[in-house]
């Protein structure tokens, strides 16, 4: 009997079908292709759930479905890898995709946007690429769909291509992520060159070969005369380049705030479930490789912690609701990276899951607010929306509590586990990595405070107080297709934490920790248990409990919750009341720096214009002058020579006879002299 795995390709093919249908037939359809997208993504969601249930039954799947370069023992192929991690991610992606499609009915169709077949087509392709990326069985296939995801995000961010902002934002997103992908591509080639295969799973997969090579058993081709550990770290960091570009980690984060120019449902899809998630998902996917490399782990954790703090501080001063969410997204992905780098594989995936839910919720809630505000995003012109749109408010509040990390909302459990895992591994590990993890932890911890602050500043300014503009006094109503997804996500944001109540489990073993079990006992070489062994045996990353296991956990949770509450309380104190005032002036000169995003854009623009442009001009000069000069020179010499040759052909036959004879004599003399005939 055909099982779930036989239908798995359809998970990606269904949205692809909706892409084709919406693009070519969308203009004929009642909702301009939205229905095709909704049907397809619901189909994907159901199939994903079926796959997950099959995986729950203990089965996994890792097979090639198409080989396109059948050379050698390890042909280059398209394949599916369905294990606990990918099936979980499939559910997240398809769920968010369904909700975004439904929400788009309210945000796009009801608002009378044009070009909807294109919109739904791109949305379908985007979902299809992401789902295929999640199921990829090897690094090359993953790279291809990674690129396709990037392309679709470019198309969607620039959906309103007739305005000024979106095309430029789309270009920026494309170029910045491409810069990271360049390293990724080199990394893919390096993986092939080193291991001869790019498979994720199985005994012949590259993480396993790397492990064997480090143990001195297997063989791997090392380049540039580096030893195995160093070279693998280089490869890991190259792949990490793509991750940092896509997941908007410092210093490649600058594209993400600009990407808010796209339609808001697209922002939800990009930041919650697809493009940005693709980066960190990749790290989790090849965690068996990174777990071998303490330096790479330290880099991941440190970049993550720094990004978490750095982005959170910028979110504090923003005026537009989507900008706050943009910086919050960067910051939260920093946490996920922090967890993965800090040895918390489950914690990272957990936070990825909860963040997907509550960030999608917040973006869709913001979208609802933006509909109501007639596409005005400035929070200082909002206020008092709480009474006018209660569904949006309560859903948004649920998401905000989760984002701020207030118990018992989902974000608390995941963020707490992220920080806890990083802390204990920081204490338990010797040497540089221990210190790096502790520093990263410290930054992540401080960011908790800022997160609480900007979250509640956003909530208060948007929904509380007196309306500060006419539109806020009389907002535009929203329909079920907006409220429905918000309600679903609002409930989920509050409750999804139950899948992994690790702290509670410690006290009451009867409380299950589903996600932990789910990820820890997966197929051989792809599960948390195995990763912990690798971390311990190879990378030297171990947990350590300065206050005992329970004590450390309680202390960590208390500190992070306390900071979150403190940040939230500060926001409430500053912005409560009917007419809150701006407090940014109190920041002094820091305000300018923050408003300008630490001048990140400025230096990157300088890099592009001041430096790259100059190098490009130099190269152009070389090309025009030297290369073209040589080419042009050759052609004019050829033509000149040609006309000379032509002139010898006088048309007088006695000249020919003379020249013929002279030529023969010259040849005779030349060859004769060389052969010594005379």
């Amino acid at each position: 009997m055909a099982g779930a795995f036989d239908f798995a390709p359809a998970i990606a093919l269904l949205p692809f079908g909706s892409f084709v249908v919406a693009l070519f037939l969308g203009h004929l359809m009642p909702k301009r292709g939205a229905l095709a997208g909704i049907i397809a993504t619901v189909g994907s969601l159901l199939l994903s759930i079926w796959v997950a249930l099959t995986v729950l039954g203990g089965e996994t799947y890792n097979e090639a479905i198409y080989e396109f370069v059948a050379v050698g023992d390890q042909p280059i192929q398209f394949g599916l890898l369905l294990d606990p991690l990918s099936s979980l991610m499939l559910i997240i992606v398809s769920l968010i995709a369904v909700l975004v499609h439904v929400f788009s009915l309210g945000y796009m169709n009801d608002e009378g946007e044009t070009g909807l077949p294109r919109y739904y087509g791109e949305l379908g392709l985007f979902t299809a690429s992401m789902l295929a990326f999640v199921m990829s069985s090897n690094l090359l296939m993953a790279f291809m769909f990674f690129e396709l995801v990037g392309l679709c995000s470019y198309l969607l961010i620039g959906f309103w291509f007739r305005r000024d902002g979106p095309p430029s934002a789309a270009k920026k997103a494309f170029l910045v992520t491409r810069f990271g992908d360049y390293f990724f591509l080199v990394g893919v080639v390096a993986v092939f060159a080193t291991f001869g295969t790019a498979q994720f799973a199985g005994p012949e997969s590259f993480p396993r070969l790397a492990e064997a090579a480090l143990a001195g058993e297997g063989e791997a081709t090392l380049l540039f005369g580096l030893d195995a550990q160093t070279w693998f770290t280089v490869v890991g960091l190259l792949i990490l380049g793509g991750v940092m570009g896509k997941s908007a980690q410092f210093p490649f984060h600058t594209w993400l705030p600009d990407a808010m120019e796209g339609p808001t449902p697209v922002s939800a899809l990009i930041h919650a479930a697809t493009m940005v998630a693709a980066g960190v998902y990749l790290v989790a996917r090849i965690y068996g490789f990174y777990a071998l490399l303490p330096t790479a782990l330290a880099v991941i954790a440190f970049v993550g912690g720094f990004t978490a703090l750095f982005a959170a501080t910028m979110g504090v001063v923003k005026r537009e609701i989507k900008q706050v969410l943009a910086y919050s997204t960067i910051s939260q992905y920093g946490y996920i990276m922090l967890a993965l780098g800090g040895g918390g594989y489950v914690a990272g995936v957990f936070h990825l899951t909860t963040h997907a839910v509550f960030k999608a919720l917040l973006f869709l809630g913001a979208g609802s607010v933006i509909i109501a505000m007639h596409h005005n995003e400035d929070m200082w012109e909002m206020g008092g929306l709480k009474e006018k749109m209660p569904v949006t408010y309560y859903a948004f509040l649920s998401g905000s509590l989760a984002l701020a990390g207030i118990v018992p909302f989902s974000g608390f459990w995941s963020k707490d586990e992220v920080l806890f895992e990083t802390l204990i591994h920081g204490f338990g590990s010797d040497g540089g990595i221990g210190i790096a993890l502790l520093l990263a932890y410290a930054m992540g911890l401080v960011a908790v405070f800022f997160t609480g602050f900007y979250t509640f500043r956003m909530v208060l300014l948007t929904f509380h107080g007196e309306p500060r503009s006419d539109t806020a006094r009389d907002p535009h109503g929203v329909h079920w297709n907006v409220k429905g997804p918000l309600a679903v996500l609002g409930v989920l944001a509050a409750t999804v934490g139950v899948i992994n109540l690790v702290p509670v489990h410690t006290f009451v073993p009867a409380v299950p920790e589903y996600l932990h079990d789910w990820l820890f006992y997966g197929p051989e070489g792809l599960n948390g248990t195995y990763y912990e062994e690798l971390l311990h045996n190879v990378a030297g990353v171990d947990p350590g409990y300065p206050l005992g296991e329970v004590g450390t956990m309680l202390a960590s949770a208390a500190v992070s919750l306390g900071l979150a509450l403190a940040g939230s309380a500060l926001a409430v104190a500053l912005y409560r009341g009917d007419s809150p005032v701006e407090h940014t002036d109190r920041l002094g000169s820091a305000k300018t720096v923050l408003f300008n995003n630490y001048y990140q854009d400025e230096y990157q623009v300088w890099l592009a214009q001041g430096l790259t442009m100059r190098v490009a001009r130099g190269a152009d000069k070389f090309d025009q002058g030297v290369v073209d000069g040589v080419v042009n020179g050759v052609s004019s010499v050829s033509l000149l020579g040609g006309s000379r040759v032509r002139r010898i052909q006088t048309g007088i036959v006695s000249n020919y006879a003379t020249l013929l004879t002279l030529g023969l004599v010259a040849l005779l003399v030349g060859i004769g002299l060389m052969g010594g005939w005379f």
């Binding site: 020579g641 036959v653 060389m674 052969g675 005939w677």
Partner: protein, 502 residues
């Protein structure tokens, strides 16, 4: 190839040559019965049939004997894979030219003479391919040449044609004299004319006669250089190709050139083996390298500045002679000789079709009475798209773009040169690439004129002649098919080359 080659008696082995000779006589017969009412269809039909029959006979002999050398008349002639391979080229070109002449000669008198001269020349060429002694080589070369002189001057009332014929004849006479003198010197040193005996007796030159032998060999090279239109014996070519009726140009530049090469291949691998010659101090490989380099460069450079399309093709034909000369210039001791010779043979096969096709397109344009310069071709693509597509295929294939077999055969030549792996052959390979790039420039000018430019004057092509079109389309189809199908020939070519060398 069959496992056990059959023995075939002497006459049957010469069937292609005899068939061609008989065809010529039949043509004479037809003409003598009704000299004034010569029917174009009948004459072309007989010629095409005769040459295709010869082609089929060559194929049958190749299959039956498996390409093993068969000596005839005491070793004066030899029929082997090489000779049959080239017979294929000659007869194909002859058939194409005869087919095209059906329309081209419609208005002319003396059609029968034209056809019989062509077939007689082809007979001489097949004999050249089978020659195994310097005497038969000389006689068959003359048999191929004399009808050619008359063919070039076929347009008796056209000054250009007559002048070209005379020049061709004069240069030809001079070259024949050089060739004959070279033969006599070689005979003087070795005492033999038959190739393998010449080879055995090369050692006789050891006592002070090396210079004499060397001069003889270089003069023989001169004779072949004339036939292949290689520098410095190329002077006749631009004029003869331009002045002659275009089908004759096609015939001469494709078949006649191939004939010159086949005899050169045989003489220099059988009679003057490279190893022995170099030991004596006669480095003919170097001579061919110099000739190849100069010929391809001169041909292409001169072609680049022509305004007349036919003359451009004439020079390009010289350039291609230079490319094929690589096959002789790369016969160094270090090379895989079968590969090197085979590469030259393959290029000649492809060239036989693409170059014939290109000249036949010129014939078509002459038939229409459109002018001869590049500008006159402006806008032809709209008037005669089929023919212009075919011409585009020919030109791009000549340039070596992967649209026809010319791409692969040039790659084989480069491989051959790289395989020989001496500085000289690397230079040749490099020159081949540079010259091909240059050639793309002037070939593209024609393509651009046909497809992109607007006609200067009102252009009206006069009809779509069946025979010419058929010949052009066949040539184009074969040219394209040779791109995937060259593998079919390469086996035969490399086997033929290998069996001759041993």
């Amino acid at each position: 190839m069959l496992q056990q080659p059959f023995e075939i008696s002497g006459l049957a082995l010469l069937a292609p040559t005899l068939l061609l000779g008989v065809t010529a006589l039949v043509l004479f017969l037809i003409d003598s019965i009704a000299p004034e009412e010569s029917s174009s269809a009948l004459l072309s039909g007989v010629t095409v049939t005769g040459s295709l029959a010869a082609l089929a006979a060559a194929g049958a002999i190749l299959v039956t004997t498996g390409g093993d050398p068969q000596d005839l008349y005491g070793g004066q002639l030899v029929v082997d894979g090489m000779s049959l391979f080239f017979t294929f080229i000659f007869t194909s070109v002859t058939a194409l030219v005869a087919l095209a002449s059906y329309d081209y000669l419609e208005e002319f008198r003396y059609k029968a003479e034209f056809h019989s001269l062509t077939v007689l020349a082809a007979t001489g060429m097949t004999l050249m391919a089978s020659s195994n002694s310097l005497a038969t080589a000389f006689i068959s070369l003359e048999l191929a040449s004399l009808p050619s002189y008359a063919l070039v001057a076929f347009l008796k009332n056209n000054r250009g044609s007559v002048e070209a014929g005379l020049k061709y004849f004069l240069i030809g006479a001079l070259s024949s004299a050089v060739f004959a003198y070279g033969i006599s010197l070689v005979y003087g040193v070795t005492g033999h004319l038959q190739f393998n005996q010449v080879a055995e007796n090369l050692g006789a030159a050891g006592d002070g006669l090396v210079g004499v032998l060397g001069v003889g060999i270089l003069m023989i090279i001169g004779g072949f250089a004339f036939k292949t239109a290689s520098v410095p014996f190329h002077w006749w070519a631009p004029e003869a190709y331009e002045g002659a009726p275009a089908p004759v140009s096609a015939f001469l530049s494709s078949a006649s050139k191939a004939a010159g090469f086949v005899i050169a291949f045989r003489v220099f691998t059988v009679a003057f083996p490279q190893a022995t010659a170099v030991d004596l101090g006669i480095d003919w490989v170097l001579a061919f390298q110099v000739l190849a380099l100069v010929t391809m460069t001169l041909g292409n450079f001169a072609a680049a500045t022509q305004e007349n399309v036919k003359r451009m093709l004439a020079y390009s034909s010289i350039g291609h002679a230079g490319y094929v000369l690589i096959a002789l210039g790369a016969l160094t001791g270090s090379a895989d000789q079968a590969l090197v010779l085979g590469a030259g043979m393959l290029h000649l096969v492809v060239y036989g079709f693409m170059n014939t096709g290109a000249f036949l397109f010129i014939a078509l344009v002459e038939y229409w009475g459109v002018g001869r310069t590049f500008e006159d071709y402006n806008g032809l693509g709209k008037q005669a798209p089929v023919a212009c597509v075919a011409m585009t295929v020919f030109l791009f294939s000549l340039a070596g773009l992967p649209i026809g077999g010319g791409f692969l055969s040039k790659i084989f030549l480069i491989l051959a040169a790289a395989n020989a792996a001496t500085i000289g052959t690397y230079v040749l390979a490099f020159a081949l690439v540079v010259n091909s790039a240059l050639s793309l420039f002037y070939y593209s000018r024609v393509v651009k004129a046909m497809w992109i430019e607007d006609p200067v004057t009102d252009l009206e092509v006069g009809g779509y002649p069946t025979g010419l079109y058929a010949a052009i389309v066949v040539a184009a189809v074969v040219t394209v098919l040779l791109l995937p199908g060259l593998g079919l020939f390469s086996g035969v070519a490399f086997d033929a080359a290998a069996s001759m060398i041993q």
